[in-house]
C-alpha cells in the first residue's frame, strides 16, 4: 500500500510536474509599466447573462426592428459564430462559452513606438485543458477549410487568395507556438496565450515556465476596484495616463497658468487630476437588476494645483448640494464650484494678459450698466449650483402646444441674499420691463410659502404672425429667492415646485474622507413620459421612414416605453477624497440617494 502510494505520488508529481512548475498567468504577469491599457474580464459570461441584459433582451425581442434584423443577412455572422461554438464544443452556446472563459480573459495593449502596431497580448483561461484543446482544434480546422475554399473560388483573379494559415509552428520552452495570420498563439495548461508579436508571446511563456527575468507589475492597490459589497468587477480596465500626457496637444491643455479661460473654468479641476495620476481604472459591476461603473483616479485633493482649490468640494468646505426632485423631474444635477476661490487665485490660473483683461472687464462692470463686476458676483453667489429639467404639467397660455419642451431651472446658492435681491434681480426686472414692452404681459409677484416669486408671460398673440415664435409659448419665466438659493426657471410651475422641494432637509455632508462634488440623475421613466408628447411624430417617422404599419409602429413605441421604465434611472456621482477621485455611474431601477 505504501509502495502504491509512493508510486502514485511519483506519478502525480512527474505527470503533473509540468503543471506544478508552470505558473498560471494572472494580470500582473502580463502587465508592464509601459502598457497603455490592461483589460481584465473576470466573468465574461456575466457580461451577457445578467438580469438587466435579460430583461432588455426580452423587451426588444418583440420589436419589428429586431425581428427584421434577425431575418436579414446582417445577423448571419452572429448565427454562424454561435453555430460554430455549439458544433465545436458540443453543447449549447451559453454553457460552452462559460466553460471556455471560466477563468477570465486578460488583454494588454502596449505601444511599440509610433511606427509599429501596438502589441496586443491576450490570455484566456478556460475551465480545463480539454475544452480548450477541443476549441482550438476546431478553429484550426475551420481556418484550413475556409482558406482552401477561398483559394478555389478566387480563380477570377480579382479576389486575393486567402493567406495560408497556420503556416508555422515553433517550439519554445517545450510549448508549441503557432502562427495564424500575423499573430501567434500557444496553449499552456488551461490557458490560451495569443499575441500579435512573437517576443510578447515568448515573454509570457517565460513567465509560465517560471523563467521570466522581469518582475510582475502591480498597479496601485487602490485601483483594484471593488463594489460596495466587496465583489470584483465583471470587467476592469486600467489605463496608463502617462502615455496620454506625452501627447503635445494634451500638454497644452494641462498647462497652468492656462491660456484659455473657458476649458479652465469648465473642466480645469478634472484636467488637473488627469495630469497628476499615473494610472486610472474603470470597472463594470453587475449589481442585481442594475449595472454600475466606477472610474477611479488615485489622486485627490492632496497635491492638487493650488489655484484650483475651489474647484472640488473638500473636507474644508461644503460638498455638492442634494439633488432636487420636483414632480416630473427628468434631469437633475448639482455640483460644487467655488468661483470666489478661483477668482482670488486668478493670477495662478491664467496668463498675465488674460488676467489683465478680466480685471478690466471687472472694473467696467462695476462702473457701468448694472454696477457690479465679476469680483462682486463671485462674492454673492455659489458655491453650490443645481440644474433641473422637468415635464411641464400645466400651461398659463390658452393655446396648448402638442409637443412641449420640458421646463428648466437653475438653483444657485446665495452667499449674500440681500445683495442678490437688490443689486442683481431688481435691476434686471426693470430692464426687462423696458426692453420687452408689448411682448410680455401679466408681470406679477406672488407669494409662495413665504418666498416671493416674480413671473411674467409672453403675449399670446406673439405666435400668430410667426409660427416660428410659437416655441415661446413653452415659457413663462419666473424667479425667486428661497432658503438662501436663487431659483431662476423657465416656468412659474417649476419654481414653485422647487421652493417646495427645498423645504426638505439637506442630507448629511457625507463621510469625512469622501465628499460628493458633483452629481447628476436622469429619470428614464420620466423621459419616457416626456416622449409621449412626441408620439405622433415618432409614429409618423416609423411609418414613413421605416415602412412599418401603424399597428407595428405603435407596438414598437410601447416597447421603448417599457424599456425606459425598466432601465429606471441613470445616476452619476463624483466623490473626492484626499487621495482619490471616483466617478460612479449607476443604471438601473431605484435611484440611489446620494
Amino acid at each position: 500500500m505504501s509502495v502504491f502510494r509512493l508510486v502514485l505520488a511519483f506519478l502525480m508529481v512527474s505527470g503533473c510536474g509540468r503543471w506544478l512548475a508552470a505558473a498560471e498567468l494572472a494580470a500582473r504577469d502580463v502587465a508592464s509599466p509601459k502598457m497603455a491599457v490592461l483589460i481584465e474580464v473576470n466573468r465574461p459570461i456575466q457580461l451577457i447573462d445578467n438580469p438587466l441584459g435579460r430583461d432588455v433582451w426580452n423587451l426588444i425581442r418583440e420589436t419589428n426592428g429586431l425581428q427584421q434584423f434577425l431575418a436579414s443577412p446582417d445577423a448571419d455572422r452572429f448565427r454562424q459564430a454561435v453555430k460554430f461554438v455549439e458544433k465545436s464544443l458540443g453543447t449549447d452556446w451559453q454553457t460552452g462559452l462559460a466553460r471556455l472563459t471560466a477563468g477570465g480573459i486578460i488583454i494588454v495593449v502596449e505601444p511599440q513606438g509610433s511606427s509599429a502596431e501596438p502589441g496586443v497580448t491576450v490570455v484566456l483561461t478556460a475551465a480545463d485543458e480539454s475544452i480548450l484543446k477541443q476549441f482550438i482544434e476546431a478553429v484550426q480546422a475551420e481556418l484550413q477549410r475556409s482558406a482552401a475554399a477561398g483559394n478555389s473560388s478566387s480563380g477570377n483573379g480579382t479576389e486575393k487568395a486567402q493567406k495560408s494559415v497556420v503556416s508555422e509552428t515553433k517550439t519554445y520552452r517545450s510549448y508549441d507556438c503557432h502562427r495564424v495570420g500575423n499573430g501567434w498563439f500557444a496553449i499552456a495548461g488551461r490557458q490560451l496565450l495569443v499575441s500579435n508579436g512573437q517576443p510578447q508571446l515568448e515573454a509570457a511563456l517565460d513567465r509560465v515556465a517560471g523563467a521570466a527575468t522581469a518582475q510582475p507589475f502591480d498597479v496601485p492597490a487602490s485601483l483594484r476596484l471593488l463594489d460596495g459589497a466587496g465583489k470584483a468587477a465583471a470587467i476592469l480596465i486600467t489605463a496608463n495616463l502617462g502615455l496620454l500626457r506625452e501627447d503635445p496637444k494634451a500638454q497644452a491643455a494641462f498647462k497652468l497658468p492656462a491660456n484659455d479661460p473657458i476649458p479652465l473654468f469648465l473642466v480645469g479641476g478634472y484636467l488637473d487630476l488627469v495630469r497628476r495620476a499615473e494610472f486610472a481604472a474603470a470597472g463594470l459591476f453587475v449589481d442585481g437588476p442594475a449595472h454600475e461603473i466606477k472610474i477611479r483616479f488615485p489622486v485627490g485633493t492632496e497635491g492638487a494645483y493650488g489655484g484650483l482649490r475651489g474647484y472640488f468640494a473638500s473636507e474644508t468646505n461644503e460638498s455638492a448640494p442634494r439633488l432636487l426632485q420636483p414632480t416630473g423631474a427628468i434631469f437633475s444635477a448639482g455640483w460644487f464650484r467655488d468661483y470666489k476661490k478661483l477668482w482670488d487665485a486668478r493670477s495662478d490660473l491664467l496668463n498675465a494678459d488674460l488676467v489683465k483683461q478680466l480685471e478690466k472687464e471687472n472694473e467696467k462692470g462695476k462702473s457701468e450698466g448694472l454696477h457690479f463686476g465679476i469680483s462682486d458676483l463671485v462674492q454673492w453667489i455659489g458655491p453650490q449650483f443645481r440644474l433641473v429639467a422637468a415635464r411641464q404639467r400645466e400651461t398659463v397660455y390658452q393655446k396648448k402646444l402638442d409637443e412641449r419642451l420640458p421646463a428648466f431651472a437653475v438653483v444657485i446658492g446665495a452667499r449674500d441674499e440681500a445683495a442678490v435681491r437688490d443689486r442683481i434681480l431688481g435691476p434686471i426686472e426693470g430692464l426687462l420691463l423696458i426692453a420687452a414692452g408689448r411682448n410680455i404681459e401679466d408681470f406679477k409677484k406672488v407669494e409662495h410659502r413665504g418666498s416671493r416669486v416674480t413671473t411674467f408671460r409672453f403675449a399670446e398673440k406673439i405666435a400668430e404672425g410667426d409660427p416660428g415664435k410659437a416655441v415661446l409659448l413653452n415659457f413663462n419665466p419666473a424667479w425667486a429667492l428661497a432658503q438662501k438659493q436663487i431659483i431662476i426657471g423657465s416656468t412659474a410651475e417649476i419654481v414653485r415646485d422647487l421652493i417646495d422641494d427645498l423645504e426638505r432637509p439637506e442630507a448629511a455632508a457625507g463621510s469625512q474622507n469622501e465628499r460628493a462634488t458633483d452629481m447628476q440623475q436622469v429619470s428614464l421613466a420620466e423621459v419616457s413620459e416626456f416622449l409621449m408628447g412626441f408620439q405622433e411624430r415618432f409614429v409618423r417617422g416609423a411609418v414613413l421612414e421605416q415602412g412599418l404599419s401603424l399597428k407595428d409602429a405603435a407596438k414598437d413605441i410601447e416597447v421603448v416605453h417599457h424599456l425606459l421604465k425598466r432601465l429606471g434611472t441613470l445616476t452619476t456621482s463624483n466623490v473626492i477624497a484626499g487621495d482619490h477621485f471616483d466617478i460612479n455611474l449607476r443604471l438601473g431601477p431605484a435611484a440611489q440617494a446620494p
Binding site: 427584421q68 436579414s72 443577412p73 454562424q80 453555430k83 405622433e536 421612414e545 415602412g547 404599419s549
Partner: protein
C-alpha cells in the same frame, strides 16, 4: 407600318372596345391577370394573382372597379389623415411624397391612386414654386376627388386651384396685364393640345381669367381686378369669366380627342399611334356622357384590345410603376421616404414635375443613366440587409412551395415576368448553383444559404431588360 401599328389594326373599332371574353387563343392566365393588376394599380404579389385567376375577367375588373369608385374606406382614410396633418404641419415635401407612396401601396383603391397620378401629370404643378405642402395636398385631394369623376368638373376646379395659380404666376392676375401664359397652358396642356387655338384666343381667354389671386393660401376673386368687357374665344363672344373659359374649352371639338388619346396612352399602349377611327367610339362616348372619366376607363379596362398583345407590355414602366410594382411583387414594406428618393433619382419626383408639361413618360424614362439606376435599385431592394430588410425576398419562394435552385429561378421569373424565358432560366440556375457552392464554404446550415440564393435569384430576374416594360 410598324409592328405596333399592325397590332392595333387587327381590331375593328367596334370589336376593339367590346368586353373581353377568354378563348383558346387568348386564355385567362397569369399573364393577363398580372397585366390587369399592373395597369389598374401598380402591381400585385403571387398570392393575389392566383386569387385573381379564380374569377372571370368580367368579375375581376368589376370587383376592382367597384372599390375604386365606391365610398371611401373609413379606416384607411383615418390612418392617412392622422399621418397627413403632421406632414402638412412640418411642411416637409419628402414626407409628402412618402405619404402619397403610402397611399399607392396600401390603398384599397389603387386605381384611384393611379388616376390621381395621371391627373397630377396632366395638371402638372410643382411644389418647387408653390412651396407649400398644404396647398399641394389640397390640390392632390381635388385631383383624387375627381379622378374618376367628370372631367368638366375637374377642369373648372383646377382652373382656380391656389397651387395652380401660384405655379402659373397667376397668384395675381390683374386687369392691366393679363397672364397669357396661364391661358396658354389651360388650352395647350390641360384641354386641347397644341395648335387648336390662335394667339388671339389666348389673349382673350387671358382677360377672362383675370381677377383671381391667392391670399393666405386661398384662391380669392377680386372683381376690381377682373376685366368685365367682352371677349371672343373660339369665335364666341361674351363677357366671359374663368368658369366660362373651362366650358368653352370643353365645347371645343378637340377636347375629348385630346383627353381620350392621353387616357389611351396611359392604359393601353405607348407604342405606336392609334388611328382616329379606332378611338372614335371612345371619343364620342366620352363626349356624350359629359366627360365621365370612370366610363372611359372602365370601357378600356374591359376591352378586347386591352387584353391583347396590342396592350400587354406595350408601355415603359414609369419610376412609380417600376418601384411600386417590385415592392408589391415582393410583398414588402420598404422605407417610403427612401423610396420617394429613388423615384426622384429615376426622374419622377412626385409633386415636383419638371415643368407644366409634366413628365413625357414612355421611352423618355429610359436612358443609360436611369436604366443603370433601375438595375442598381433592383439590387438595393433584394439584398436583404440594412434598408432592404423590409423587402427581403428570402421567404417568398418557400411560402408558395418553390425550393431548390431551379425552383427559385422559376418562381421569380414567373413572379416578375409571368413567362419563363428558357435561356434566362438556365443562366440564373447556373449562377445560383455556383453561388451555392461558394456559400457552402463559409456558411453553416442550409437555411441561410437558401435565403442568399433566393435574394440572388430575385435580383437576377429583375435585371432582365424586359422587366422595364409594363
Amino acid at each position: 407600318m410598324t409592328e405596333s401599328q399592325s397590332r392595333f389594326d387587327q381590331f375593328s373599332p367596334v370589336i376593339a372596345w367590346q368586353a373581353f371574353v377568354p378563348s383558346r387563343e387568348q386564355p385567362w392566365d397569369e399573364v393577363l391577370v398580372a397585366h390587369l393588376y399592373r395597369r389598374i394599380g401598380f402591381g400585385a404579389g403571387w398570392g393575389t394573382i392566383r386569387e385573381g385567376l379564380k374569377s372571370s375577367p368580367d368579375e375581376l375588373v368589376g370587383k376592382l372597379l367597384a372599390t375604386a369608385t365606391g365610398a371611401d374606406e373609413p379606416d384607411f382614410e383615418a390612418e392617412v389623415t392622422a399621418l397627413r396633418s403632421g406632414v402638412v404641419k412640418d411642411n416637409d415635401p419628402q414626407q409628402a411624397k412618402a405619404l402619397w407612396l403610402y397611399r399607392m401601396l396600401h390603398s384599397p383603391y389603387p386605381l384611384r391612386e393611379r388616376m390621381t397620378l395621371f391627373w397630377h401629370n396632366h395638371f402638372a404643378t410643382s411644389n418647387a414654386k408653390v412651396r407649400s405642402v398644404r396647398l399641394m395636398q389640397r390640390q392632390n385631394d381635388t385631383l383624387r376627388r375627381h379622378a374618376l369623376g367628370r372631367f368638366d368638373a375637374m377642369l373648372s376646379e383646377m382652373t382656380v386651384d391656389p397651387a395652380m395659380l401660384i405655379w402659373l404666376d397667376s397668384a395675381s392676375n390683374v386687369n392691366a396685364a393679363p397672364n397669357e401664359n396661364y391661358a396658354r397652358e389651360v388650352m395647350e396642356l390641360f384641354s386641347l393640345g397644341v395648335g387648336h387655338y390662335s394667339e388671339k384666343d389666348i389673349q382673350e381667354a387671358a382677360r377672362a381669367l383675370t381677377g383671381w389671386k391667392v391670399v393666405s393660401e386661398r384662391a380669392v376673386f377680386d372683381p376690381q381686378q377682373f376685366d368685365p368687357t367682352e371677349k371672343t374665344v373660339f369665335g364666341r363672344t361674351g363677357r366671359w369669366t374663368s368658369g366660362d373659359v373651362a366650358r368653352l374649352c370643353l365645347s371645343h371639338e378637340d377636347c375629348a380627342r385630346f383627353i381620350v388619346r392621353k387616357v389611351f396612352r396611359e392604359f393601353v399602349s405607348e407604342n405606336g399611334n392609334p388611328s382616329e377611327s379606332l378611338l372614335d367610339p371612345l371619343i364620342s362616348g366620352f363626349r356624350t356622357r359629359n366627360y365621365d372619366i370612370a366610363w372611359l376607363v372602365e370601357t378600356i379596362l374591359r376591352s378586347n384590345i386591352f387584353f391583347s398583345a396590342a396592350a400587354i407590355r406595350q408601355k415603359v414602366k414609369s419610376p412609380c410603376d417600376f418601384l411600386l410594382g417590385t415592392v408589391l411583387a415582393l410583398e414588402g414594406r420598404p422605407g417610403l421616404v427612401q423610396l420617394a428618393q429613388s423615384c426622384d433619382q429615376l426622374g419622377q419626383s412626385l409633386l415636383h414635375p419638371p415643368s407644366v408639361k409634366g413628365w413625357d413618360g414612355g421611352s423618355t424614362w429610359i436612358n443609360s443613366s436611369t436604366l443603370l439606376k433601375r438595375q442598381n435599385m433592383a439590387y438595393d431592394l433584394t439584398h436583404g440587409s440594412g434598408s432592404a430588410r423590409g423587402t427581403d425576398p428570402a421567404r417568398l419562394p418557400a411560402r408558395y412551395g418553390f425550393t431548390g435552385a431551379r425552383g427559385l429561378a422559376e418562381f421569380f421569373l414567373r413572379l416578375f415576368h409571368q413567362q419563363v424565358n428558357p435561356a434566362a432560366l438556365e443562366s440564373i440556375v447556373s449562377q445560383l448553383e455556383s453561388e451555392r457552392i461558394n456559400n457552402a464554404a463559409v456558411l453553416y446550415g442550409d437555411s441561410s444559404s437558401e435565403s442568399g440564393l433566393a435574394r440572388s435569384a430575385a435580383h437576377l430576374a429583375l435585371t432582365l431588360p424586359e422587366y422595364q416594360l409594363g
